[in-house]
Symmetry: C2
DNA sequence: CCGATTGGTCAGGATAGCTGACTATTTTAG
DNA sequence: CTAAAATAGTCAGCTATCCTGACCAATCGG
């Protein structure tokens, strides 16, 4: 490195953190300031469809005990419910409340806003090239792909 | 987004995490598997020069109590010492041990290896363009710049 | 030289992770 | 059809990493 900038991995972290914080601020703005980062990561996974606790734990990369604790908190705060799984008496489906569905949509929209800001700042082609490079890089850096 | 890839910020996180884990694995390989991520972040800051606890805390973005605890652990494990600051009787300088200096150099080298792998995978010009875009993006995403 | 600032610690608490042990239910194999 | 194995989830207890608030000791500025 001939420049005095941090390593590329750190530069990525900086931009990633900025996105995360923008989303969390947006959540706080709409009165969901009580959601923590770990809780947000869980909610994100549930946005497409309800899921069993065990699957949720596996997808977020934590133990089911940890996931269970976070689900407890989110349930107490009214962001989700555990409903019995009709296909398996042992299991329950972790299901977003209407409010949480709305929040997830809002979060996704905020991410789009951030990306469009980046796109404007860098110029469309530089941004698209960067994104393409990151997608390509995922092939050799994502163990969960 | 017309593709089914994660948002750009998440793609960045994936690559960043890969770098971090490569460095931590390398540390484990050379017998420093006892160092945690939080400790590693502190050591990194100390690599250029010794520093007071308060400065260290500020630069790493934690309270001085937290930094103090991490320094306690690292001192017990022989990675650093607190030496009196000759210029201020209240203060002590947190100073890397020889072993820690060697580890920091090794970590920096591992980062270079990872980056050169990325460069080879993407091609030099795509990699350099991506890095340039990230450096540019830092202007609008790094609150500590 | 005395009050304000600064360097650092102590005490206590929250969050987010972990392992291990356990219950209850379902699935599978004999 | 039943006994064993696998699966869903919880309970208890531990650790690490952060936080706030209160405090002591040394230095610095007027």
């Amino acid at each position: 490195m001939t420049d005095d900038q941090p390593p590329t991995g750190v530069l990525m972290f900086i931009a990633h953190r900025a996105t995360e914080q923008r989303v969390m601020s947006r959540m706080a703005e709409v009165g969901a300031g009580d959601i923590t980062l770990a809780q947000a990561r869980l909610l994100q996974r549930l946005a497409p469809e309800p899921m069993r606790l065990t699957d949720l734990a596996e997808q977020t990369g934590v133990t089911k005990q940890t996931a269970g604790g976070l689900v407890d908190q989110l349930e107490a705060a009214g962001y989700l419910r555990r409903v019995p799984d009709p296909s398996d008496g042992r299991a329950r489906l972790v299901t977003l409340s209407d409010r949480a569905v709305a929040l997830c949509a809002l979060a996704a929209r905020e991410v789009e806003v951030v990306e469009s800001e980046w796109r404007e700042y860098l110029g469309a082609s530089r941004f698209d090239d960067m994104r393409a490079a990151l997608i390509s890089l995922r092939e050799i850096t994502d163990p969960y792909r």
